[in-house]
Amino acid sequence: MHIHLKKDWQLPESAVTSESAYRLRPRRDFLKTLGWGAMGAALLRTKGWGALTGFPAQDNPAYLGAGLKVTPFKLVTSYNNFYEFGTDKGDPKDEANDGWQPEPGWTVEIAGLAANPGKWDVEDLVAKMGGIEQRIYRHRCVEAWSMVVPWDGFPLAKLVAFARPKASARFLKFTSFLDPKHATGQKEGNLEYPYVEGLVISEAMNELAFVATGIFGKPLPNQNGAPLRLVLPWKYGFKGIKSIVRIEFTDKSPFSTWQKMAPDEYGFLANVNPHHDHPRWSQASERIIGGGIFTGRQPTLMFNGYEKQVAAMYKGLDLDKYY
């Protein structure tokens, strides 16, 4: 007998929308792409579609869900905060596809307090994680807007296990790429680069922590953080560092880029918390991307609705103080 246990972090089916917004059969799409032959594949690569290893994504029956209310692909790939390629939401889709090539030859380094350090070609590393699965998560930006995105990737816990952290390792420090020649925002110096993010090791091992290599069953578009990025659905979007090149296990709490920029506005934890406002705006509710002019706001949930999976990690912690 085959029993489908619905994971409790799956979005409810009350959030169902038109299927046209999201094609449920990415596998077929991908085969079509393959059908174009070697030339088509080469074209995809030069366009920088990211790590192809593991695609098509394994249809995980527990997580695929029947047509959840997913934000249309076009909006997910046109409304991006990726300051390396400009500060306007529309900048990354143009600037990140104008000469910057996250592939081939992208390597990810595992360093620091780990028994299995080294530098891996991104495709090899993804292959070692044992295939790609798909998960649909809410995505809440610190600017008080939200999306729903079907991510393809693997649990971060798998990568932690692969790195074999030493007992003294308490934090993970993630570093993104540095390429001011192609990344216009880095050339301008709108933030301090390379972009850095950090996690407590228990957070990295949480079942929700995810390394995405794709969206909508396709390899990550450049503007979404190709070839691989973090996805932490209970935290604000800026914690989801894009285009990772280095993961270091440390015993000291890393300083994240935004934390350094404005420590009173962006904390290290950056958990979604409707009760702790940004100094300049309320976090109690959020705009829904694609929601239109008159219907675009909903209340923000504690831990972005993932309280059940993550609240235990922060038990007894004053979340107003550690924001």
Binding site: L75, G90, E143, L191, P279, R280, S285, R287, I293, R297
Partner: protein, 211 residues
Amino acid sequence: MRWYEKLLRSKAFILTMIVLPGLWPAWPILRQDPTVAADPLKYLLHHFGFVACLLLATVLALTPLRVLFPHAAIALALNRHRRLIGVGAFFYAAIHLTCQFLHEAGWPTFWQDLRKPFLLAGMATFLILALLAVTSPTAVVRWLGGRRWKNLHRLAYLAALLAAYHQAAARKLFPVQVLWIFVPLALLELARVVRQRLTRRQQVLARPAPG
């Protein structure tokens, strides 16, 4: 009179120049630019606020331009339209505020967010512009009397300061746009103050010594 002087003196031309930026958003919305479609209201909110700031800075720049270049035909022609441009700034601020109300989806969030200094500054700017717009018809100017009217309308400088802060705080990072809009105005004002001081001193020196 040169052709451009004629054009700049024409009320219809200036009105068109004020209305056009308000129609601009129709273009990305109609062609369904996906970045705009993601949250069209936020786009409109930012756009109308931007135009309001631009018009406010423009109208304030006209007086120092006239003082610094008293014989320039362009400066004189533009100075005829101070009221029109100022009221234009108020109208864009009003549309911007309406967008903000829709963006907050009603009173609860609107009031909650209004406690933030950055939004409070925006609201104060709007109230000043509203007061100045209401007192701009000729009849009201007469009723108030020239001096009182002038003193009241000096609030426009406070409005510009508040608007610059409001615009600067509206994004995660400091938007360079604010500098493009308000730094030239600050420089013009500075130059005007220096110029007026010098003129006054010359007038004092030119006065015959008391005998």
